[in-house]
């Protein structure tokens, strides 16, 4: 397939990028790695008047300490994250969740911020960011704001990111001491996206669960925190019985997706099964 024509600029600075966005208005679209956007443009499913390429902006790259957690530039690639000793040390969950995204080419080009901004309902990164309590630094020519990832996703491919905004940074606070983490997924074999993906961060204190976050992707029209699972687990002993009871709530309150790979009944059952498995694994890793 061949794309329709479009304009293209590659600004040298973030301010220039913001000015470009403002100038081209709603027809403009940001591109970083392009591995979600370009296929859609080739299929002519996304009509883009003007592309603003932020993939090489140094201001959007890099991984640094942030209050004991990490701030990751939005245009940092999967490959850069996977190769980072800091990430490996502080957030092994990101390594576990991202190391099988796409293939090597996708990981070399795809960016964390791109994935979050794209808001694909079956991407892994949104579930990971939810479990990690991440927040996002967004900037427009009018100023900047930070938003929690929890609440950022509104629907399939729809997020809280405004058309004139650039995601600058993903900020991940330090996890509680001794937290165990896990990401398990049931992969759709054709696309590699998750039919169900469950990210968990869990900590115990004095024999009971003192912190738990469960991010679920692939199940509904956007990634969500399984709050009923979390509230059932909090204060429990985090044993198998408690985990199984909590996992039963994995899809509570969600309009569960149905497609040729997983109908509603199967997907709902797998949300529970993979939530149970992921929580079990995180609990076993918690110290």
């Amino acid at each position: 397939m061949s794309m329709a024509g479009f304009g293209y600029t590659r600004p040298a600075t973030l301010d220039e990028a913001l000015a470009d966005l403002a100038k081209h208005g709603p027809d403009a679209k940001l591109i970083a790695g392009g591995h979600s956007l370009l296929p859609l443009m080739k299929m002519r499913l996304a009509s883009v008047g003007h592309l603003v390429d932020i993939g090489r902006l140094r201001e959007l790259k890099g991984i640094r300490d942030w209050n004991g957690g990490l701030a990751i530039g939005a245009a940092t690639t999967y490959r850069e994250v996977l190769g980072s000793a800091l990430v490996r040390d502080r957030f092994p969950l990101l390594i576990e969740g991202l190391d099988d995204i796409g293939d090597i080419q996708v990981r070399n080009r795809g960016t964390l911020g791109g994935s979050l901004a794209h808001a694909d309902p079956a991407s892994d990164m949104p579930a990971l960011a939810l479990a990690l309590d991440a927040e996002l630094l967004l900037r427009s020519s009018g100023g900047e704001r930070t938003v929690k990832v929890d609440g950022f996703f509104h629907g399939a491919f729809v997020s809280d990111l405004h058309p004139d905004e650039v995601m600058v940074e993903i900020r991940i606070p330090a996890s509680p001491d001794g937290a165990g983490t896990s990401y398990v997924e049931l992969t759709q074999p054709a696309s590699g996206y998750s039919l169900v993906g469950v990210a968990v961060v869990l900590a115990k204190s004095g024999g009971t669960v003192s912190h738990v976050r469960v991010g679920v992707t692939g199940v509904a029209d956007h990634a969500y925190r399984a709050s009923a699972v979390e509230s059932t687990l909090m204060g429990s002993d985090g044993g198998s019985a408690a985990i199984a009871a909590a996992a039963a709530h994995a899809a509570d309150g969600q309009e569960v997706n149905s497609d040729i790979h997983a109908d509603r009944e199967y997907r709902t059952a797998m949300a529970t099964a993979f939530t149970r498995r992921s929580v079990e694994s995180a609990a076993a890793r918690a110290t």
């Binding site: 499913l45 996304a46 808001a119 491919f157 029209d221 149905s258 497609d259 040729i260 790979h261």
Partner: protein, 147 residues
């Protein structure tokens, strides 16, 4: 794909019916509608940008008021075309007086067939998206009537 639902509108049935058969009114509630052109009292043409997020296509939609039994029943048929994609939809609306005075219960059903590109590569999101758009359309109708 078949969708259906029911909504109670705080407006008398005659007013609801009049709204439903007026392209300039009901047309504004269609997803992404940018312009409406009335061809005759039963036919009109709309241009709409329909999609999810930035995945979207511009459709030219020919609509026909296929059945209109005032004040209780109307059927609108629509055929939309976008590059590589076609949408054929039939919307059925049945109106009954509500329990409260000056309210109307609208039962609606929609049959939607999507053909071409969007059907063959968008399968995983089509049903949820269509459902949402249809619900928004009928919410919009209710909201405008209750303004």
């Amino acid at each position: 794909m078949e969708f259906s639902g029911q909504t109670t509108i705080k407006a008398p049935r005659e007013r609801v019916f009049a709204f439903l058969i007026d392209p300039n009114l009901v047309g504004r509630c269609g997803p992404g509608v940018e312009s409406i052109e009335v061809i005759d009292d039963r036919h009109f043409k709309a241009k709409a940008k329909v999609g999810v997020g930035f995945i979207s296509a511009r459709f030219v939609i020919n609509m026909e008021l296929a059945e209109a039994d005032a004040p209780s029943h109307a059927v609108i048929k629509a055929r939309g075309q976008a590059p590589g994609t076609a949408v054929d939809a039939t919307g059925t609306m049945d109106l009954a007086p509500g329990d409260e005075p000056d309210t109307t219960v609208m039962k609606w059903g929609a049959n939607v067939i999507i053909s071409g590109m969007m059907a063959s590569v968008g399968a995983r999101m089509i049903e949820g998206t269509a459902n949402k758009m249809i619900a928004q359309t009928f919410d919009c109708i209710r909201a405008k009537l209750e303004e």
